[in-house]
Amino acid sequence: MARKKPAYSTGLPNDDFSKTQFYIGMRGGISFTKAHVINRYSSFVSTTDPDDNYDKTYSNYKKAGAFVGLEFDFYFKGFTASFQPNYRREVYSYSNSYEWKDENDASNFLQLQYKQDTRLDYIELPLFIKYDILQKNFRPFVQVGFYYGILNGATKHLVVDGTDNASGTARTFNQQDDIVGAKDLFIKSSIGMAFGAGVSYKVGNIRLILDATYRKGMNNISNVSNRYSANTLTGSGDVSDDIKLDNLAFSFGCLFPMKFLTSSEYKAVD
């Protein structure tokens, strides 16, 4: 009795073996972050103007962060479950402006601007579902998923610029930059949803990916309990607002298939 050949050895495109594929790859890129403010706080209180809350001015999507990570994909009939653990730095910036002036002589004043970059390092564990719009070598795709970030480190970088007009002549100056640890100002967890689109292109057996992903933070990442107590910059008026982080990331990666058809070309299932 003739033994039936297993399906995967036939080389036919529509057997079970060729419907699925595992990919392992790497990806990296840059990202831009927006701090979505929930509640505002300051250690400064105005004794003369109740409407002056010393609110911070945020610069959204201005400073670039970066990330690098791995990608594990399981492909089935145009859909892909994609696990993309990565190490990422997210950067957001804000500034506070203060002015003190002499009521009797308007030419006497001091202006200070405190500019701060907050750098957050996360180990992020995102899970996406991708859908390939075209099943060709050139495949545009959309993806949706969620992520969980574990805070690994945080710093604040303070730069103070000033204009001192107290001596009769305007003089601009920069104070020495300060970099302080800020890990206690943020909680460990950051969760959110992610949406993205991109393209992949098959080069040989490797698939190259270029995509853009928008992450929508869903929790307040500021540590409420430590708002005043763990911040060495509180003395200059800095207190963390309650914020959620939104992030736009552009990444490039390559995926290596793990299943191949037995053929003379040793061709990947795809």
């Binding site: 400064f44 594990f72 003190w100 005043y228």
Partner: protein
């Protein structure tokens, strides 16, 4: 592979939800607030803080005024979270407040000096920081220190008599009626006290730790000028007029007691400075018999080298988890507020804590709050040059002892 990943994500999400839920329910138990205004020339030096029954705080400060070299008075009310409820400068007739708010139940008082006649005024302060003048003493000039005597519901008031070159300590009612006065000769040695006292009152010179109050029973004390020196003197209003006080003598204004808290009988917790060095003394015995004396240099104490020369010291008794603690607050050379907690029973150090960063801070006062935390009042130099009022509120859990 797919299942492992999903399970992993599920476990992590459960952990995350705990972290996030805890943060969502958390409320900051302490705060730091800096009360700023955009004036280039206004200056505020906080003096004392008291908590009101609504959980908020009254803050007494001095402020520079244009009509006198003596500082005016600035009064603030903030709520329990540090939000400003009111802030006002008092009429400029009132100057040079003694540096503590007097508290008697829910009533608060400010003792201050008249700008023109240098007499003494007593101002009653409501919990909402409204002011009414309750007492005036035309024959009591240069008020230096005041403390409420709970036993007699009167004020123990130390004042300077420039005509007889005396330190006087009066027991007065809140309406300004002088019940009793003891007179202590400063003497006329080589050390002239007049100008230093004026400079103390204007804030242009050395700030002296003038103190007065009840030690125990009928024994009262004042820390002020007596017999050429700034000394801690004990006395009884019932003694004969000629009876000398008991004294822990200093040397001129260079070796002095800087804080005092009565531990009962003739025992005190105290601190002193000597030729710029500062010492904390959690337990000491002072003479209380008329004419007896010791040198305050014999009281020893723990040298605290990080404090500023002749540092101001605030000493309060507080409780934490049923333990009685002596809390010392002062200012470091590096521009921070330093807190030292000592076990009231053993005199052992329980812990220390330093507050303030970025800009320099100078300690003004400290109190225990109703939640067993503390509130620390300080001056901070905003932008390194504008003296402003700062309040640290620390929860019980944030105290390092």
């Amino acid at each position: 592979m797919k299942h492992i990943t999903l399970y992993l994500q599920l476990i992590i999400l459960i952990c995350a939800s705990c972290d996030i839920k805890k943060n969502k329910e958390a409320t900051p138990t302490g705060f730091l607030k800096i009360y700023n205004e955009d004036s280039y020339s206004n200056q505020y030096i906080p003096l004392d803080i008291e908590q009101t029954t609504d959980g908020g705080f009254l803050i007494l400060s001095s402020t520079k005024i244009s009509t006198s070299s003596f500082p005016g008075i600035y009064l603030m009310k903030i709520d329990k979270d540090g939000k400003l409820l009111s802030a006002k400068s008092l009429p400029e007739d009132y100057v040079s407040a003694v540096p503590n708010l007097l508290k008697n139940g829910n009533n608060y008082y400010i003792v201050c000096m008249g700008q023109q006649d240098l007499s003494t005024y007593i101002l009653q302060v409501s919990e909402a920081a409204d002011i009414t003048q309750s007492g005036f003493m035309s024959n009591v000039q240069y008020p230096l220190s005041a403390e409420f005597d709970l036993a007699s519901s009167q004020i123990i008031l130390q004042h300077y008599n420039k005509y007889d070159l005396q330190t006087n300590v009066s027991r007065v009612s809140v309406t300004g009626t002088v019940a009793k006065t003891r007179y202590f000769s400063i003497g006329s040695g080589g050390f002239d006290v007049e100008q230093p006292i004026i400079d103390h009152l204007t804030g242009k010179g050395k700030k002296y730790p003038f103190l007065s109050g009840q030690l125990s029973g009928n024994t009262y004390y004042f820390n002020g000028f007596y017999n050429y020196t700034l000394s801690l003197c004990m006395f009884d209003y019932n003694w004969d007029v000629e009876d000398d006080p008991a004294a822990a003598q200093g040397y001129r204004d260079e070796r002095c007691i800087s804080s005092i808290f009565s531990l009962g009988g003739n025992k005190i917790a105290t601190s002193r400075y000597a030729y710029a060095n500062n010492y904390i003394i959690p337990s000491a015995t002072v003479p209380t018999i008329s004419g007896s004396f010791i040198a305050n240099s014999d009281m020893g104490g723990f040298l605290i080298p990080e404090l500023t020369n002749d540092a101001p010291m605030c000493l309060k008794a507080i409780q934490k988890n049923g333990q009685s603690i002596l809390l010392y607050a002062s200012t470091t050379k590096s521009g921070q507020v330093a807190l030292y907690a000592y076990d009231a029973a053993s005199g052992g150090l329980l812990g220390s804590q330093y507050l303030g960063s970025t800009n320099p801070y100078t300690m003004a006062s400290v109190i225990q709050t109703s939640d067993e935390g503390i509130a620390v009042l300080a001056t901070t130099q905003v932008a390194g040059r504008f003296p402003r009022i700062a309040v640290f509120k620390l929860a019980k859990e944030e105290l390092d002892w």
